[in-house]
Symmetry: C2
Subunit: 212 residues, 2 copies
């Protein structure tokens, strides 16, 4: 097979993965998985079919094999190491959040900040390093992903440094576009203020109880 897998599919895979990792079942049907994750069964079958048929007709999917396959697609089977830049509240929350699920597939291996008061302390089990060591850390840990939770003023420059050091994937919480000129990096922007503003529209738009 091997046609391009749509972005929308990629974004759903982690949700499937989480459920498969916690369901304690051997087999599952697209209907059950859909019920659990909130997507339609057709959509799940289509998503899974993109990377080859792993289901058995009349039966369903083998949970363990399917889980392994999704890990492979997402490149999580070989482990991805991430650095969090900015040890403020948001950075701290993220480290704690990701760290508590003791999984080897995605790991935050370092937090970087420029505040000398907190450099040397640890968040979760991750130590806070000075911003100067950025490139060194990327090299040392083979870091492939960076999470930017720092002020807009610093984000652009730091992102550029990371990209030059070989980091190709960013989750950017700073309200400023980064690495706009580079085509070798992928930036997922999350702007919490904009999310809330967009949500405001739905405060009124969603009608009370339209027929299901």
């Amino acid at each position: 097979m091997q046609q391009r897998i749509p972005d929308a599919t990629i974004r759903r895979l982690p949700a499937y993965l989480r459920w498969l990792s916690t369901c304690n079942l051997e087999r599952v049907t697209s209907g059950i998985l859909g019920q659990a994750t909130g997507f339609s069964s057709e959509q799940i079958r289509k998503d899974l079919a993109y990377f080859g048929a792993f289901g058995t007709r009349g039966v369903g999917y083998d949970v363990k094999a399917l889980r392994q396959e999704i890990l492979r697609i997402l490149q999580l089977d070989r482990g991805v190491r991430a650095v969090v830049v900015g040890a403020g509240h948001l950075g701290t929350a993220l480290v704690r959040y990701v760290g508590q699920s003791r999984q080897r597939d995605l790991e935050i291996v370092a937090v970087v900040d420029n505040d000398s008061d907190i450099i040397g302390t640890t968040i979760g089990h991750v130590s806070v390093e000075p911003i100067e060591k950025l490139e060194q850390l990327v090299e040392e840990y083979d870091i492939g992903m960076a999470v930017l939770t720092l002020p807009a003023s610093a984000a652009v420059e730091i992102a550029e440094r990371l990209a030059n050091a070989g980091v190709h994937a960013f989750l950017n919480f700073a309200p400023v576009p980064v690495c706009t000129k580079r085509f070798d990096v992928f930036v997922q922007q999350i702007d919490l203020t904009l999310e809330m503003q967009a949500l405001s529209y739905f405060v009124q738009a969603r009608q009370p109880h339209p027929i299901p």
Copy 2:
């Protein structure tokens, strides 16, 4: 006019709004706005045309009028009050973040938690209230939106309470679906772990320097 405005358009409006609020210009063209926000000029013209023609041919758009119009569409012109449930690192980050932009359009008016050690303290200029006062706060401040930054175990129940109290829009950071049975509420799910896992795919998928 008055046809349905696509969701994709709604999600772009806040980005336009931010730029319009900070550009210090009187007039703007779709090309300039596109350059600044990273969208195509055609897309911007289409988006803006959904709610009536406000541009002038050959000239562009009046910044102040356009900004006001977007505020109106997003229902931000009458002000939206939000409550943050959970005063952990993520909740704290959000309150600080939204609070520092001293705007009247979207305001976090209360933080709620169940930890007696922090109840009564303030975050930014917002005081932390006990979880028991949830319904009372919704009533008192006419709250239309809730941000859930609490453990999954508590999220479902609290969301239900909020929905019953009249809150119709949620930004949910808890890794569990809430208000799944209700059609009178809109839930925007943000799961930071899932975002990072999806991003992992792009660590390898994005080719180095494909032709622009």
